[in-house]
């Protein structure tokens, strides 16, 4: 809403400059976009909030000024005698109005002016409209817009002679009813839209409160004018405007709630201005159908409540002056009326017709406070009553993040909207994704059903921007539908590509491998008691075989019986689709069970006394048939149940050269440790013999050497 400073002054004396006024308005509830000094003087750009339709006219802003500076509002320019009576008179013979849908149209006034001369508007009128950014059309149409900008109430003028039978019918549109609006567009209406019709009510001549019709539009041939000044239900208007995708100055004002009482005044003001700029003869009086008339609501405000909400006081005098200036007509009603500043003071106010937004005591409190100035309420920091608690998983997540960062991973945050075809690549079968009904684009049509889809995209971004080495993680959510319910699950996604170690002064470069990923994940697993790796998903587990991972380099991660997720190298098929030309490693873990296990492990952790006697290590260099995994070796050794075995580790691994085909060489390192004494060579020898026997008979291992 552009507020012309000079225009404003027609309604109220403004004791300050436009700039000062603008900053004061900004601090009392009218957001200010800026002040421009142009050919029409100062123009303030007021960004009026949606609860204040009364401020979509100069009069409403003037009322704010009057409350801020406590200067009286001026009377509206006087009217000629011809405008009376307010209802009835000649007008009644000239037009009949029938409101068939009073729930949509609460008031409809009509006046008729005969013998107007349609022509361009006079300069002053053109300038005012131009200052407000409204195009000048002709004198009669311009008057409607002028009055709307002045009083905040939309009007419409018809070519009276095109109204059939001199009869107006306001009714609900029928579904799919069509009409052509004055912008020349054929509109299809929703049932329930208020339409203004003529004659027998069959022809639509205007969409009520939104836009007039083309058939009855004012033209340069128009001689006689019918002025419509009505009131339409805000919700119905908003619904209709949205359905039509037709948002006009009129629909904005009616949609937020126009002042039904203003319809009469705006009609008079409009008639007066038309006579002034277009001549003609006014038919005495007006038609005024007003089925929606309501008595002013009474609202009470008490000092106790004001203090309870605001925490600091405002004087009786100021409170009364503010509410009075805003039109609330406050009256002291408590028994302590003589006592100024009484804590028991109470006022009864009348809700003005232009303030549908003020219905309750709290609304009045806000009015008093904002005009008083919010800076006058002294800030204080309240004492806390209870201890503050972090999220239940706060510590587990902090430790996890800390560990990942220590391992060299950078945290990312992504937008979960992804393309359906991308999501499908990573989505386990049987999972229903959460699709958007109204996405902005196909690229963002579905909420990711896995974290990996976003992780892959982030790696892709980096590779496409010549950042070839990246180690990333995201702690986020995945989104799925189960029936009609949405399920959001916390997941950790990990992505790595490029070099595990870059070429430096002291070390050579080394590519990131599956072993790096596994090692990093195991370092995370230690926080929760250790991960178990399996080649296959558990029966009925959450993670089917991930087709998007290279079958030779992937694994399922378990925590106890819980199937946490998968890790591995992105398959060539998917990498090609994403045009990723270097090896990419991805992992995804469900965080809920991980956090749970974190706390469980932490609470169960106990000190283990340090051994007093030295440990002894023995290496077993084994030739093993392909397919016999290290886990089988470790299990076979552990199954011997030798208490002194403290650890079984894999020392070295190789294939080829002098290792026969179908076999591979593995160095198993066994650590012996006794808490009773130093182990003797004889004891070690005995243990070693048992180990060798077990490995050869159970696993078909050949001993290459024992060191």
């Amino acid at each position: 809403m552009k507020v012309v400073y000079d225009w404003l002054k027609e309604f109220v004396d403004v004791p300050v400059s436009a700039e000062e006024l603008a900053s004061r308005l900004a601090l009392t509830g009218t957001n200010i976009g800026g002040v421009e000094n142009g050919p029409h003087g100062a123009v303030i750009d007021a960004e009026v909030t949606s609860n204040r339709p009364d401020c979509l006219g100069h009069l409403g802003i003037a009322r704010e000024v009057s409350a801020i500076y406590k200067t009286a509002l001026k009377k509206l320019p006087s009217t000629t005698g011809k405008l009376e009576p307010a209802v009835g008179g000649d007008a009644l013979q000239k037009v009949r109005v029938d409101i068939q849908a009073p729930e949509l149209c609460g008031r409809f006034t009509a006046r008729v002016i005969r013998g107007v001369k349609i022509q361009p508007s006079p300069q002053w009128l053109k300038e005012r409209l131009e200052a407000c950014g409204v195009a000048s059309i002709n004198n009669v149409v311009d008057v409607s817009n002028y009055v709307m900008l002045e009083l905040g109430h939309p009007l419409h003028s018809f070519d009276y002679d095109k109204i059939r039978d001199q009869r107006i019918v306001v009714r609900r549109a029928s579904a799919q009813e069509k009409t052509r609006t004055l912008d020349g567009v054929e509109r299809v209406l929703d049932a329930g839209t208020a339409v203004v019709c003529d004659g027998d009510g069959s022809r639509v001549v205007g969409i009520g409160g939104i836009m007039g019709g083309a058939d009855t539009e004012i033209s340069f041939a128009t001689k006689n004018v019918l002025i419509e000044c009505a009131w339409f239900d805000p919700i119905a208007i908003r619904r209709a405007a949205r359905a039509l995708r037709l948002h006009t100055e009129a629909s904005t004002r009616f949609g937020r709630g126009a002042d039904p009482e203003m319809a009469g005044a705006a009609s008079r003001r409009s008639a007066e201005l038309i006579l002034q700029v277009a001549g003609g003869e006014l038919q005495n009086g007006a038609v005024d159908e007003y089925p929606g008339k309501q008595a002013a609501r009474k609202i009470r405000v008490t000092r106790t409540e004001f203090l309870r909400v605001m925490g600091a006081d405002v004087s009786d005098k100021e409170l009364e002056a503010t509410l009075g200036a805003l039109g609330f007509a406050p009256v002291r009603i408590d028994d302590h009326r003589g006592a100024a500043g009484s804590l028991l003071a109470a006022w009864e106010c009348a809700q003005p017709s232009w303030r549908a937004d003020v219905e309750r005591e709290i609304d009045l409190i806000e009015e008093i406070a904002r005009i008083h100035g919010l800076d006058k309420f002294p800030p204080r920091l309240p004492a806390a009553r209870a201890g503050a608690v972090r999220l239940p998983h706060f510590e587990a997540e902090a430790r996890l993040r800390e560990r990942l960062i220590g391992l060299g991973y950078r945290e990312i945050l992504t937008i979960p909207h992804v393309a359906e075809e991308r999501d499908e690549l990573f989505r386990p079968s049987g999972v229903a994704p959460a699709r958007l009904a109204n996405p902005l684009s196909e690229e963002a049509g579905v909420l990711r059903s896995t974290g990996t889809v976003s992780m892959a995209a982030s790696l892709e971004w980096n590779l496409n921007h010549s950042q070839r080495n990246a180690r990333l993680f995201e702690i986020g959510r995945q989104y799925r539908l189960v029936g009609e319910e949405s399920v959001e699950t916390r997941v950790l996604s990990i992505g790595a590509t490029g070099e595990a170690r870059e070429q430096g002064l002291y070390d050579g470069a080394r590519d990131f491998t599956f072993a790096d990923l596994k090692g990093d994940l195991d370092a995370i697993g230690m926080l929760a008691g250790g991960f178990r790796w399996e080649a296959k998903a558990s029966d009925g587990g959450n993670h089917a075989e991930p087709e998007w991972l290279n079958p030779a380099k992937r694994g399922h991660i378990f925590l106890g019986k819980e199937d946490l997720g998968v890790a591995g190298q992105l398959s060539r098929r998917v990498a090609d689709k994403l045009k990723l030309r270097q090896e990419v490693f991805l992992a995804e873990l469900a965080l809920g069970p991980f956090y749970c296990a974190y706390y469980g492990t932490k609470n169960a952790r106990r000190y283990e006394p340090l051994p007093r006697f030295p440990a002894v290590e023995r290496d077993f260099s084994l030739l093993l048939p392909e397919g016999v995994h290290f886990s089988a070796v470790a299990e076979a050794i552990r199954a011997l149940a030798i208490r002194e075995i403290a650890a079984v580790e894999a020392g070295d691994l190789f294939r080829g050269r002098n290792v026969p085909a179908g076999k591979y060489s593995l160095l198993a390192r066994v650590k012996f440790q006794s808490h009773e004494g130093t182990l003797t060579d004889a004891q070690i020898g005995e243990f070693s013999a048992k180990i060798v026997a077990a490995l050869t008979t159970q696993l078909g291992a050949q001993l290459r050497a024992s060191v």
Binding site: A26, T28, N31, S50, N51, R52, R239, G255, R256, L307, V309, M310, G311, A312, R360, I365, E366, L374, F377, P379, L381, P382, A384, R385, A386, A388, V389, R390, L391, R401, G406, L407, G408, R410, E411, I412, T414, I415, H417, A434, R435, L436, A437, N438, L440, S458, W461, N462, Q467, N469, F473, R477, Y479, L481, E484, S486, E488, R501, G504, Y506
Partner: protein
């Protein structure tokens, strides 16, 4: 040593020395010779040769003097020779040791010059990760509010219209809904309630109050969504921290005090603040909260002299919306609006991070370019 070679290979009697007087010049000559030649021992090798030449057990100068001068001497002369010899030995040993220390020190300092590390070279670079900037800001804000008694809670991002709108006093067809363009989910036909992506973290206010009675003091970090076309200042997903405090004695003054405390902690003590009346359906009185522009210090003028681009000359930057909880909201959670009061706020994290760190494109937060991530270790 040539000068004394002859004398020390002869007996005193052969040199015609029979008393102490004759002895003194002989020792003086030897000592002068030693002092003159000491400089020859300039490194570890020459020092060893020099030491052996003088102190060698068999052919060292002192051994020769012992053999030739001391041992054959008459008993009376022997005592004098012995004393002179001891004095000479003391001098020689001290000087040779002194020389050794000097040589070793010299060797060490020359080795130091050769082996010194070049401090301008980097050490071994180990990969190290980083927290996302938005996460860092989240953490900072959470810490500030936790320190004044606010607990942290979370809620779902996929919400029902009831929690996102209705219970927050935003009925259907409320004009505010037009400003919060909303993503809806595609649901199977016949679904009981539509689902949407929350447009703010405020639904968690309702979920929290449904679960607990006052006093309530919570903050809610999380992602929110608005159906805006992305550009440098808009992203259809962004981050918020919601705050809510409800108790029997919370006033507007407590509200502004809490917000000011937070902002001073976050931006520094010198920042100025102001509250402008505004409108939100779920708060009343509602405010927009501004801080003095941290880029121009609130002057509106940039360092270059022109209009400050960050605040467009206003000197103030709009930070977020807030207010006292509208009593209508209490109706939805069965709180007695006559007995309790409170305040709520919703801080946009991305915008705050952009302001604090001078980031001019919100999209960088979500691209996750490692060159961006590296800047905030």
């Amino acid at each position: 040593m040539k000068s004394i070679e002859t004398s020390i290979s002869k007996k005193l009697s052969e040199l015609g020395v029979a008393d102490a007087e004759g002895l003194a010049p002989l020792f003086a000559e030897v000592r002068a010779c030693f002092d003159a030649e000491l400089a020859v021992a300039s490194d570890e090798g020459s020092w060893k040769l020099f030491r052996d030449a003088w102190l060698g057990r068999k052919a060292g100068v002192l051994a020769l003097i012992t053999d030739n001068w001391l041992k054959p001497a008459s008993p009376e002369l022997k005592r004098v020779v012995g004393a002179a010899l001891n004095e000479l030995r003391g001098h020689v040993e001290a000087k040779i040791e002194e020389r050794r220390v000097a040589i070793e020190l010299g060797a060490e300092s020359s080795a130091a010059a050769r082996d010194a590390v070049d401090l301008s070279l980097p050490g071994v670079v180990r990969p190290i990760g980083s927290r996302h900037l938005v996460r860092q800001v989240f953490q900072e804000i959470e810490d500030i509010f936790v320190s004044i008694g606010f607990s942290v809670v979370e809620g779902p991002e996929i919400e029902t219209p009831y929690y996102n709108f209705e219970a927050l006093n935003i009925p259907e067809h409320h004009p505010v809904r037009d400003d919060m363009d909303t993503f809806y989910l595609e649901l199977p036909k016949g679904a009981a309630s539509p689902l949407l992506l929350r447009t703010h973290t405020s639904p968690v206010q309702i979920r929290t109050m449904e679960k607990m009675q006052p006093p309530v003091r919570v903050i809610v970090p999380g992602k929110v969504y608005r159906r805006d076309n992305p550009d440098a200042t808009h992203s259809f997903a962004f981050h918020q921290i919601e705050g809510l405090a409800v108790d029997t004695d919370i006033t507007f003054c407590d509200f502004t005090g809490t917000i000011e405390y937070f902002v001073r902690q976050f931006f520094g003590a010198s920042v100025k603040t102001r509250f402008r009346p505004s409108y939100f359906p779920f708060t009343e009185p509602s405010v927009e909260f501004d801080v003095s522009c941290p880029f121009c210090g609130g002057s509106g003028t940039a360092a270059s002299g022109g209009v400050c681009g960050k605040c467009k000359g206003a000197g103030w930057i709009e930070l977020f919306g807030a207010g006292m909880v509208d009593p209508a909201v209490y109706g939805f959670v069965n709180y007695d609006a006559k007995k309790v009061s409170g305040f709520a706020f919703g801080i946009g994290i991305d915008r705050l991070a952009m302001l604090k760190y001078g980031i001019d494109d919100i999209q960088v937060f979500f691209q996750n370019d490692v060159r961006f991530l590296r800047q905030f270790p």
